[in-house]
Symmetry: C2
Subunit: 368 residues, 2 copies
């Protein structure tokens, strides 16, 4: 058994499940090398790893990784994502495929997640949101699953944007199998990442652990479509635990596919988001990435005082009317009506001709 940190962490990724709190405590107090040594000795509760220790073959795991060009990252590597140092149960190591620098790639990144059983509305939104984020220089991180995950990756790839898929099983094993082509394309243009050793099967508990990495390595998480029981809500929980902002996309209330999103918003766990700009506004650093607030077209009659609005309303469109009639119509003092007419004329809303006032048609106004 080799006694260096890198080798020990590779071994841990085969021996110990990602969220094993006992082993996390041990690694924290005595380091990875000593932890693996103690697991080999198998004293006390550490005897539970005996079968896995007997089957351990890190040389072989590294060889499997090599067949798909995957590299092994440990926390001391410069490529290690800074943000993963902040989460409660960091991965022992990461197995990484792809041409990008992981740390730099996720520095400005958003997790785009949601139901596997998405609707076409959800898939369209996921792809558009991901494309919008990618074109604004943000990396889209997801889990390569059916539905929202796949659409998010595809949306980013469609604009040649960086995207990172975090798998629950070994990095050499595309899962789901029907997404093999997608995952291989991500590995060719972006990054495919796993915290478990090559050859590991994607098991339910590993999906839950994997979700904490998706939430943990990104600046924030957006849920596009999630029913009340969607696994993506587990990712939301991890993002919240890590103090990262969460956004959720609303949808028709007639669709159960959005019910989880609506509940996250109602409960205040997520902010309602409707565009890539709003997502960046949510997850970006204050100032650096703030987005413009939405507003409708500004019309000249917006923001008129009550007096001016009442006078404008009393001015006819076709045949002009005189000041006296406007005073009667509005029941306002003549002086006030006169000054209101002046303001409305300067705003291009009314025109005067021989002492008679009429409204200026909107199409003339906009032609100015």
């Amino acid at each position: 058994m080799r006694a260096d940190d890198r080798w020990a962490r590779a071994a841990l990724s085969r021996l110990v499940e990602p969220c094993d709190k006992e082993v996390h405590g041990l690694v924290e107090s005595v380091g990875a090398v000593e932890t693996v040594q103690r697991i080999h000795e198998g004293a006390g509760r550490l005897g539970r790893f005996a079968a896995r220790v007997a089957a351990l073959d890190t040389e072989r795991d590294l060889a499997i990784a090599a067949t798909v060009g995957a590299r092994l990252l440990v926390p001391s590597d410069e490529e290690w994502p800074e943000r993963l140092r902040e989460i409660a149960l960091p991965p022992w190591c990461l197995w990484v495929r792809g041409p990008l620098h992981l740390g730099e790639t996720v520095e400005r990144s958003v997790a785009v997640v949601g139901s596997r059983t998405a609707t076409s509305y959800g898939e369209q939104i996921a792809a558009e949101l991901a494309a919008g984020l990618a074109t604004r220089g943000w990396t889209v991180v997801s889990g390569a699953a059916f539905g929202i995950d796949g659409s998010a990756h595809r949306g980013a790839l469609a604009v040649d944007g960086p995207t990172v898929a975090v798998l629950a099983g070994g990095v050499e094993r595309p899962y789901p199998a029907a997404h093999a082509a997608l995952i291989n394309r991500i590995a060719a243009q972006g990054l495919v990442v796993s915290e478990v050793a090559p050859g590991s099967a994607p098991m339910r508990s590993r999906f839950l652990s994997r979700n904490r990495l998706i939430a943990g390595m990104t600046c924030g998480t957006v849920v596009v479509e999630a029913d009340l029981r969607s696994g993506s809500r587990n990712t939301v929980g991890h993002a919240t635990d890590a103090g990262r902002p969460v956004g959720a996309v609303p949808g028709p209330i007639t669709s159960m596919a959005s019910s989880g999103c609506h509940e996250e918003i109602r409960d205040g766990r997520a902010v309602l988001v409707t565009s890539a700009a709003e997502v960046i506004d949510l997850v970006g650093e204050i100032g650096a990435d703030a987005c413009e607030p939405l507003h409708g077209p500004v019309l000249p009659e917006d923001g008129l005082s009550l007096l001016d609005a009442a006078v404008l309303e009393a001015v006819p469109f076709r045949v002009g009317t005189d000041l006296d009639r406007l005073v009667v119509a509005t029941a306002q003092p003549a002086l006030g009506v006169r000054s209101a007419l002046g303001r409305l004329e300067r705003a291009g809303l009314v025109v005067e001709s021989e002492g008679r006032w009429r409204k200026r048609p909107a199409r003339l106004r906009s032609a100015d």
Copy 2:
């Protein structure tokens, strides 16, 4: 000129626009009778009402009201809605058509408002929400406009629920004209209300004043569909000013018809609501009307500990497996695996036969 409060307030509803702050101040300090007296004298700024004073004929206004069976309500009437005493610029009086007691009818009431240019999604939601509120004993208040307003009234009427239409023009004048049949039906089964004198035209400024009544007489306001410039957002502002809760229904982010709702939710002015129960939860008194939180179906495997979940995952479906193999598969101590199996067996999730464990199919579980 008669010198009683009722007569004076009827006159005010003809002479003075609803939100005239000067006259509000006067009524508050010297009362309605003295205010009308001073308007007749027309000193200073009160001279602006001269033309309306000359045309004033309260006898005729009362006669017009009588033709449609409308009654005149003033704040001293027992039927006056309590909640209208709390708003900043209360109506001088209310002209009311319909068989119900106004104060009692709006005691438990929700304003359901939204765009005139609603989508079929919005109209469907408005009708369902209104029907749901009405069947739970809540009165639906709206403005009888095209789109959301009309659908809300219809939804309430469809379940024979009480509904109140607040008009911007005279109570005898159905507006919009295409909603005459709807408004007459509301007058026959619910209530049609206006604060301006019979014969008054529905003008833009009166729609804005009218919105403060819709927000002001209800426990809370729900916006079903609103684009960024919808007038219903004005109603939201009045509800907020009056300290009443506001809900907004989300929709597809691809539809501009929901963009105003989404912005109200994003900005924290409105709470996202998806059902009548959630609306009642929002506007109802704490405790009395609280609704059950939404949740998905509860499955036996929900809420398992990580250990139990890992063991359950390792147990095969068809051919059973023994404890030793489960210890290897989970890398957990035998003692822990054994007690997990006990818990899973009691939960009906696994079965044991001759020392071998297998999963219990879900359909057998649910048949219990």
